[in-house]
Amino acid sequence: MLKLTGGVGIAGLAGCSGSSGNEAYNIGMVDAQTGSLSAFGERNQRGKDLALSAVNEVGIGGSDLQVTVEDSGSENQGGISAAQKLVNQDGVPFLIGAVGSGVSLAIYESVIEGTDVVQLSQNSTGLGLTEFPGLLRMSPPGSTQATALADIIGEDGYDEVALTFVNNDYGRSLAEAFTDAWDGSVAYNNSHDQEQQSYSSVISEMNSSSADAWLFITYQAEFGKMVNEIFSKGYEPMLYGADSAQGQNVLDNTPDGSMDGMKIVVPSAPVDEQNYKDFASAFESEYDQSPTSWAAYAYDCVINAALAIQAADAFTGAALGEVVREVTRPEGEQVTTFEAASDILADGSPSDVDYQGVSGPIDFDENGDPVGFLQVLEVQDHSYEGVDFISS
């Protein structure tokens, strides 16, 4: 660490040798390092480490950024203890956390709410977080998918849709978000249970609803069975799906050509943008595999925190809270790296910068939700092809 700071001091040219002696800024991160969400936690850590080295290569006004990581164990209670330790003992003004939506909310309600500490969740997609404007998140809520699907189906010229969703929180909330966003009529709107052996009654009801566009908010195994039943019943509707209904397992278990033309909306990193490509190649050379969007979200959390620290008047929760949204919002100059944003902040105000993340444009809204960046996939020759990007 010392070595790195020294390097920055030299790169930062002569004169300010005193700055390398500044104390590092310390922020906290609650991550799922163990437990059922630990796969996400691992990816988060890789994204965080890459972001830290990007930030510390430049430095924040001559100081380093430090992230103290605590484990939530993927559970609410573990997340609360971790956050309490970070906020009350370490005194961090900025907390990145957590992975699961339930854990993030538990931390917010038990530890953060009522203090001026800024909480930014790296991987929560649950719709409930939208109701807590003080709780920011980097990954867009699932409802952006529903809005996007409504737009796409409308643009394809359908005014009637048959909708079936998996009978749980995920399916129900996404289906509700869809019907809210959809202007046309809903000819069929019903749930189905998971792991049924037969979905033929669902399929025949969707068919008798006479809608030509069928939307599926369900999981791969269930959707695979449904596609087979549609095929063997000889129906030929236009298929649409949420991201959970997409995957190799569906392709493997359905007949060739049975889904051609189907459109699916999946949350995606802006894979065509230069900053994402740089991030991906840095990630690949470091970890020997391609990054997932979960690593990209964690990366942007750290960059966002660093920018807020640089833009704020003081290293306190209240000061950070004032600028944390500003630095990624439109109207400022669009930049894609920490270094470029840092240059502007050096002699400008927080609203002069619009940081474009490797996970999307960010642009937190009044509820603390980012703009969703989504990719539209179309099934062509029985494989998924990206046809478009949308942000909503």
Partner: protein, 302 residues
């Protein structure tokens, strides 16, 4: 619409019937509710998957199914029966337990079967390497949308059920099985080797379950939980028909499968009960029947 639903019901019933018979047979002879029965179906399905992968299509095609699938089906029946016999010899036979103890033991065995399948094949779903078919053209004018595979499932189930009927009614083994189901002690003192009859019961019951599982894989897809997920419906069928009665199980399986698939009719005639309650409706009917006939439709009045 109605004809189509009836056709779907017939296909689904065929699979439930194959599962129900075995459960009821084992209950009547071994005297406990075998919770590992659903996973015996899974074993049949995965054995067929492996066998079909090994032998391939073998050229000839019957009803859209290559000959190799029927070979795989026989292998599924054989292995399911073999596993059941080994389990009976190694586990149930050596246990000095009442029917509740055996029931609990069978729950444990269900987990073991499923875990072994999952170890070997993973938790992901898969299908046989048999191309899916479009509905039969000739039936489309009647609104019936079934594939040749569906017809094959119904016909094969009919052959197996008829075979079982002939066996029970006209063979020496069948008479002994019926005698033992009626009164095991009396059967033993009149010189029937009850151990041997019990073994055959396991073979027939698990064999039919294996066939049911193989067809379930063809009808839907293969997952390690496929049999267990169906077990509740099979229990409903067996209890509805009259537990311990083979013919009751056939009738119960047929009714439960039909009711399950005919649920869309309810909303067609204006009753606001959605298809997500299909299983619940089957169980409500089961409860109502039991209120009036506590031993099931075909069960003897007590």
């Amino acid at each position: 619409m109605v004809l189509d639903l009836l056709a779907s019901g017939l296909v689904f019933s065929s699979i439930i019937v194959l599962g129900s018979i075995g459960l009821s047979l084992v209950y009547s002879i071994a005297d406990f509710a075998n919770f590992a029965h659903g996973d015996t179906m899974t074993i049949g399905a995965y054995t067929s998957l492996v066998t079909f992968g090994a032998v391939g299509g073998l050229g000839v095609t019957v009803l859209g199914l290559p000959l190799g699938f029927f070979v795989a089906l026989l292998a599924g029946i054989g292995v399911a029966a073999f596993v059941a016999v080994v389990t009976e010899k190694l586990v149930y036979d050596g246990m000095d337990l009442d029917s509740i103890g055996l029931l609990i033991a069978s729950i444990g065995l269900a987990f073991i079967y499923r875990a072994v399948v999952q170890l070997g094949f993973g938790a992901q779903s898969t299908r046989y390497g048999i191309g899916a078919l479009r509905p039969i053209e000739a039936l489309l004018p009647y609104g019936v949308r079934v594939t040749q595979h569906d017809v094959a499932i119904v016909l094969s189930a009919a052959v197996l059920v008829t075979g079982l009927h002939v066996l029970l009614q006209y063979s020496d083994l069948g008479r002994k099985m019926r005698a033992m189901a009626d009164n095991p002690d009396l059967a033993r003192v009149s010189g029937i080797r009850t151990d041997r009859v019990k073994l055959w019961t396991w073979i027939i019951g698990a064999g039919l379950a294996g066939a049911g599982g193989a067809f379930l894989g063809l009808y839907s897809q293969l997952t390690p939980r496929m049999g267990f997920n169906l077990l509740l419906l099979i229990f409903a069928a067996v209890i509805l028909g009259g537990i311990g009665s083979v013919y009751g199980a056939m009738l119960g399986g047929f009714l439960i499968g039909m009711i399950n698939q005919l649920t869309p009719l309810l909303s067609n005639v204006g009753i606001p009960i959605g298809i997500e309650y299909a299983d619940a409706i089957a169980f409500v009917i089961m409860v109502v029947v039991l209120l009036f006939r506590p031993n099931g439709i075909a069960g003897e009045a007590s």
